[in-house]
Symmetry: C2
Subunit: 408 residues, 2 copies
């Protein structure tokens, strides 16, 4: 065994061989050649080169500039490739072949690892929806009458989903305070985050054929953290009656790493008890596996933790969202991405948006660098997360980082 091998990970490394998320990277000497990589500790393994070196039958699937071919290959291939990768990074006999194919993370550039087909965003946290309802409909019920009968969702802009690290240009648009006679135009003054978990579809489905609740794992490849940047002032003026549009469509940031579903088997957890009986296509009471995931998110602004949203508290599960999204016969494509909606827990410190943390700007939060209601130019937001892995390990999700730059 070599000394100081990149494969000798520190005890408790959340990117150990129990995780193995996928990404796409380039190196400085070949900036045009995108390659599939797998993260192990602080390194990325060139997956195509490894498959070639070890004579793997998956060499073609892994020697690709994007994750999409693997996504499209289906669940059996996902499982077999993961099994092979696990062997490559854990079996001592492979070390000599694998070690030269490991690149330190700080020596590579990470790219959006898949082409997004359709992007859908849900609204699945009861705490988030209740907070928003209280703020914007103070005289009505906090939740709309449909909320506990179906996972509310809407389509977002797939073309502006970007990889972690991409700057966020402050969006301009119309806003109108209730007391203003007419709307004004300018850079958003209520630029916000939404801490979410995203689900990436691999296996497509046929037009006209709903996907059953129990087929979630046949279609969904893995998870990503997701920040659905939101301009609250633009959104408030535009969203009645057809929903959010420009208040959201300027940018959505996702992790550079996609964590395979299989890595999260130990993080499965039961969703909250349901207040209403669900229609059969959404009823998960008898599901083989609990539909929730115990993913623990941390939101940092300029290096300071401001919230710890617990994904386990989401009312609607990702499997229910998939079943709902297709129950009308809408087909899935490889690369479809759907966000959970803002993750907010019952406690104040568990809220996944500044809208909720500052109660729409009423209560500023104190940061070392000064007070904040919404984001200022130059602010950097980082989402990180982990989930319980096998045998007491932690499974890290790839971070989502973004810095606000002034309006063009």
């Amino acid at each position: 065994m070599s000394e100081h091998s990149p494969l000798d990970l520190a005890e408790g490394d959340p990117f150990g061989p129990h995780n193995l998320p996928y990404g796409v990277f380039t190196t400085a000497d070949e900036p045009e050649r995108r390659r599939l990589g797998v993260r192990i500790g602080g390194y990325v393994l060139d997956a195509g080169a490894a498959a070639h070196a070890l004579g793997s039958p998956y060499a073609t699937l892994l020697a690709q500039p994007s994750l999409n071919p693997l996504l499209a290959a289906g669940r059996t291939a996902w499982r077999d490739v993961r099994r092979a990768l696990t062997a490559w990074v854990t079996v001592p006999a492979h070390r000599a072949d694998i070690e030269p194919l490991l690149h330190p993370l700080d020596a590579v550039t990470l790219h959006l690892p898949y082409e997004v087909a359709d992007y859908v965003d849900f609204y699945a946290s009861e705490h988030h929806a209740t907070n928003v309802g209280r703020m914007f409909r103070p005289d009505g019920d906090a939740l709309t009458p449909n909320w506990k009968h179906l996972p509310i969702g809407y389509h977002g802009r797939a073309g502006t989903v970007v990889v972690s690290g991409t700057d966020v240009v402050r969006p301009s648009g119309q806003r109108k305070a209730p007391t203003d006679a007419a709307p004004v135009f300018g850079p958003s003054v209520k630029l916000d985050i939404e801490a979410e978990v995203g689900f990436l579809v691999g296996t497509p489905s046929e037009l006209g054929r709903p996907v059953a609740l129990g087929d979630f794992q046949e279609h969904v490849f893995g998870l990503t953290l997701l920040n659905d940047w939101s301009a609250r002032d633009i959104q408030a003026w535009e969203y009645v009656p057809l929903g959010p549009f420009l208040g959201k469509s300027f940018q959505t940031s996702v992790s550079a790493w996609v964590t395979p579903l299989e890595a999260l088997d130990a993080a499965r957890t039961a969703p909250p008890a349901r207040d209403f009986p669900l229609l059969p296509y959404l009823d998960d009471a008898a599901a083989e596996e609990p539909g929730g995931f115990d993913v623990r998110i941390t939101v940092e602004i300029n290096g300071e933790a401001v919230a710890e949203p617990p994904f386990s508290t989401m009312y609607w599960t990702a499997a229910q969202q998939l079943a709902h999204m297709t129950v009308n016969g809408a087909s899935l494509r490889t690369g479809d991405l759907y966000g959970s909606g803002t993750v907010s827990g019952p406690e104040v410190g568990q809220r996944g948006s500044l809208l909720e943390l500052t109660w729409n700007g009423r209560d500023a939060i104190e940061l070392a660098g000064g007070k904040r209601t919404f984001l200022e130019d130059g602010d950097e937001v980082v989402l990180t997360a982990w989930a319980p892995g096998p045998d007491g390990t932690r499974v890290g999700l790839g971070e989502v980082r973004g810095r606000i730059v002034p309006s063009a």
Copy 2:
């Protein structure tokens, strides 16, 4: 000159050399080989083969299985290719080369001619929005306060945009009448159409950089008819607060033919007078060219005309919609498609949806085959349209056809 040449068109043919829309076709003997075609009369010209035969510099751009490379090539290329095509089908010296490359329309299969990137749907007819507002918000103002300040829009599902001729599987979903205690699940009982004009983006734009009103023609390649099938019962229960989702996402049908913007120069028309001053990024009072298009749509159900929606009456123009869609910095991609929203004129017979034609099912319309409120299984809907062309000609838009089949 050959006798009975396919290039000798009948007087007034709306698909004459002044039109030349683009499509993608296959022939029975080579069902896997998709080819770019240009419609002339009742024929489709194999554009790649023609370019090759005539030694055109555009042979590579036209010998493609999809319109996307031409879309991405930009306005100068669009103009030059169109000029070349016009010469090929009009200059007698080319006849001998061109005629063998013409396939009768009924001998080919037409396909969706481009890959849709993002799909956005607007809500730009004042008459339609007023009718809907009166039906669903009888106690409030028909138009929401934002309606005349910005073109309201939302993202739809790009993956379920299909070519004319594709059957429509009746969607199932939740619905709840106000008097019901809980939602019920089943096939939609209010399946409807929305007659629209779609605009197809060719030239992409950069993230963070709005597209100005005056740059419409640099980015938009052409037009298509569009039927945004809608399940009114599903939509009514789901759409508050985040907008339409499953009530729309099951299918959107578009023409097999894309009409280049240039073919519609003579159809340009001024939009209606604006009731409010518009913010500068939307203000088209000083625009070089009027932003409207005089496209005259006919809606047929089972062969019987039920409405003639006039696109010239739309309050918001396609250029304003493009400027609005990008004003927050959202980027455009080649293949982005946006619908105008239902086209309804001021007269009852000009309404582009059954929702309006039957006033949400209250007033059935009489067809030869029986009364209709919403669509029945087996019904076939066809949208056709034409616009004024140069010198008194008519420019035909490709039809959009769809037949309702029962829920799976």
